[in-house]
């Protein structure tokens, strides 16, 4: 199994390790719920070095991005980040990714670990007609430090000049300086940063953050945090069989020019009529919503839970579901032999420490 540079540090911190798409990663360091609360209320960190980092360079880099991304890379200025879906010819989602603009003809792209091979193959295939090149950066480690007090803690451990820049960094922007690449981004619904450093620097950074009171958090807490924040997980809430217009990611699709891969399929789908939508689901009974549970309303319209878990912040079961566009008010979920009533609500469930579910 593949290991990140922090593998031993996780074991030393008492991690329970699991196979995560071929990577031996920490699922928790004792209690997933405590780790979740640490991020919502204070500060925690995740080793996300298993994610794939690629650098894009060359005079036609922007043209390449305009072709492969549904979102508009022309919105990017130096030091800014853009979230987008990447579609196949049918409009299905190959992956979701973040692109940072580092300078003229110089971009950094972070894609999911589980989709590494197919993403790299897709990049290679599509880049052939462009004067641009991509290079994977496997020696770069990545730490997500998240929570209302995360940035304050980072300021105490980073070199002074970088800390000074970080103290005024805007959301969805990045610092790119002396081997530190720091984006004010994340996957938890809280403020925080994602820090990319050469892997020989990461253990020192990890240890200093622990000393600064940042709690190591596993991928279990990362999942409940992103679910509360209504953020999609590739492979569950989206995949190659569904378009962004049908799973709540229409906002990642640009409105103006339609020259990206998948655009024609989306236009056809719009003409034909979109029949599915993404919704948040809350269960008040004392059970848990899970991936793949079926939903049905009073008229027999159906849906499926794409992500479900217990919300440690709201202390109820929550889920994201792809349902019929005309789904009614009285929706039930099938949990084994039982049919229990659920409430469909707008995402997210929690943002910046605040529970948004109406009781």
């Amino acid at each position: 199994m593949k290991k990140t540079y922090l593998h031993q540090a996780h074991i030393d911190a008492g991690a329970k390790m699991v196979d995560f798409g071929g990577w031996d990663m920490p699922i928790n360091y004792g209690s997933q719920i405590e780790e979740h609360h640490a991020v919502r209320q204070d500060k925690g960190m995740f080793d996300v070095s298993h994610m794939t980092i690629v650098d894009l360079k060359g005079p036609e880099s922007e043209l390449f991005l305009l072709k492969i991304l549904a979102n508009d890379a022309r919105k990017l200025t130096d030091g800014k980040a853009l979230y987008s879906t990447m579609l196949n010819e049918k409009g299905g989602i190959i992956d979701d990714l973040i692109t940072y603009k580092r300078g003229d003809n110089n971009y950094r792209i972070v894609v999911n670990a589980g989709t590494r091979e197919k993403d790299l193959a897709w990049f290679e295939k599509q880049i052939k007609t462009f004067d641009a090149s991509i290079t994977e950066r496997p020696k770069v480690a990545m730490l997500a430090v998240q929570g209302p007090n995360a940035i304050t803690a980072c300021l105490t451990v980073l070199p002074t000049d970088i800390a000074t820049t970080l103290s005024t960094l805007k959301k969805f922007c990045a610092i790119d300086d002396e081997g530190y690449f720091i984006g004010r981004t994340g996957y938890t619904g809280e403020d925080g940063v994602e820090i990319l450093v050469p892997e020989d620097k990461v253990i020192d950074l990890w240890n200093k953050l622990i000393e600064a009171g940042v709690k190591p958090c596993g991928l279990g807490a990362r999942d409940t945090l992103r679910l509360e924040a209504g953020m999609h997980l590739y492979g569950q809430d989206m995949n190659e069989e569904i378009t962004p217009l049908e799973c709540g990611l229409g906002w990642t699709v640009r409105k103006e020019d339609f020259n990206f891969i998948g655009a024609d399929a989306l236009t056809a789908l719009r003409t034909q009529g979109i029949t599915k939508k993404m919704t948040g689901v809350v269960l008040t009974e004392r059970r848990i919503l899970r991936h793949n549970q079926e939903l049905v309303d009073e008229n027999g319209l159906t849906g499926i839970i794409t992500s479900g878990s217990f919300s440690p912040s709201a202390e109820v079961a929550i889920g994201m579901a792809i349902v019929d566009k005309n789904m009614g008010k009285n929706v039930k979920v099938k949990i084994r032999k039982k049919e229990l009533a659920v409430k469909c609500i707008k995402l997210p469930f929690v943002r910046n420490g605040k529970v948004l579910i109406e009781k």
């Binding site: 928790n28 997933q32 719920i33 004392r286 059970r287 848990i288 899970r290 878990s309 217990f310």
Partner: protein, 129 residues
């Protein structure tokens, strides 16, 4: 290696069985089971009803997964641990004591002989740990 008390009996579904002085049995899930389930958030306790060996009689829901509770013997449920309604984490914290789940009568004492000893249970989970 998870703690496995010597004086209890066990079944493959990772439940422990303690024979009480009055001949009834008290049942919970093992340290190994709570550790693999992770944080437990809800427990659906058994109804006070009769069950046959292997019947599903309740559910433990953790953040990670739902796990059925099975009756390890034929008998009638006579008590459940109501404290778990508000504090399901007792199973994580103290699976062999405060985290007990239910008590039942034993219709056929011979069934007790089919249960695993602590030694047998330890061997059965060795490969998983």
């Amino acid at each position: 290696m998870s703690y496995v008390p010597d004086n209890f009996k066990y079944v493959e579904s990772h439940e422990w069985i303690e024979v009480l002085d009055n001949g009834n049995v008290r049942i919970g899930v093992t340290e190994h089971a709570q550790s693999s389930l992770g944080d437990i958030v809800f427990v659906e306790l058994p109804e006070e009803d009769s069950y046959a060996t292997g019947d599903e009689c309740g559910v433990v829901e953790s953040v990670k997964t739902a796990s059925d509770i099975f009756a390890p013997l034929t008998g009638t449920v006579v008590a459940v641990n109501d404290a778990l309604e508000d504090a399901p984490e007792l199973i994580n914290e103290n699976p062999y004591d405060d985290g007990w789940i239910f008590e039942m009568t034993v219709d056929n004492a011979d069934e007790l002989k089919d249960l695993m000893t602590a030694e047998e249970y330890r061997n059965s989970i060795e490969d998983e740990e």
